[in-house]
């Protein structure tokens, strides 16, 4: 059985934000909600690396584990989704998530936290596939159309990969082998210092 995963190749990520914008475009994500964002470490100095982060669709999802109303479920291909009708917007999944994937819209005069929203691996949610209501609540369902998440499909350098974990790993492995011997690989400088 395929298990869907993301992998962002930090050697190729150039912080172009195509993934962030593709997601916004495809799902009409409003201002303030960041389903995906790019994180840069050591900005501006040698060793600068960027990586694109969204929901990692954990096999043992902490968000699902802590949800007081159990609104999460995992699909057959390993995508972690939730039902916005059941969600009470408590924010506990945000506490639990190591990646900060859950996002909340600001609603109302008192800035009350609304229903949680997060990356769906472009797999929509518990509504009829590709119905208007699914699009409105969860965004487009690309998996039902036989396509992969748009963030990965539009990544400018093919740094962000999304698909079956095994296939993604194969591709990444072949890249590592092709790059082999270059100082890009972590630890190389330590092992072979001049």
């Amino acid at each position: 059985m395929a298990r869907m995963k993301f992998l962002c190749d930090a050697e190729r990520c150039i912080e172009c934000n195509a993934c962030v914008t593709a997601c916004k475009n495809e799902h009409e994500v409003p201002w303030g909600i960041n389903r995906r964002r790019v994180v840069t470490i050591d900005d501006g100095i040698p060793g600068e690396k960027s990586i694109s982060v969204a929901c990692m669709h954990c096999s043992d999802a902490p968000c699902a584990a802590v949800c007081p109303v159990d609104c999460f479920y995992t699909t057959d291909d390993g995508v972690v989704l939730h039902d916005k009708d059941i969600c009470i917007g408590c924010g506990y999944c945000f506490y639990a998530c190591p990646f900060g994937a859950p996002q909340y819209p600001q609603e109302g005069a008192f800035g009350a936290r609304g229903k949680m929203d997060k990356c769906t691996f472009c797999a929509g949610g518990p509504e009829e596939d590709n119905s208007a209501i699914e699009v409105e609540k969860y965004g487009r369902n690309r998996l039902a159309e036989g396509k992969l998440p748009l963030c990965a499909e539009m990544c400018s350098t093919k740094a962000l990969l999304a698909g079956d974990g095994d296939i993604v790993a194969d591709l990444f492995r072949s890249r590592v082998v092709r790059r082999g011997g270059r100082p890009d690989n972590w630890g190389w400088e330590t092992a072979y210092k001049d």
Partner: protein
Amino acid sequence: MKLLSLMFAALLLSACYEDTDVTLHEAGVYKGSDDKHAMSADERADVLKQRFNQVQTDR
């Protein structure tokens, strides 16, 4: 008078309607809507593998 107060009491009590159609929470059990898919997971895996190779590889 008694009839009036009885009717008034009944009126007040009408607010005590309770909808029995409530979702009871059971720990660890998902009670949300079903998410059915047209393709089975295996079919989808094949389609998506092909898609991955077409779109995300260096060609």
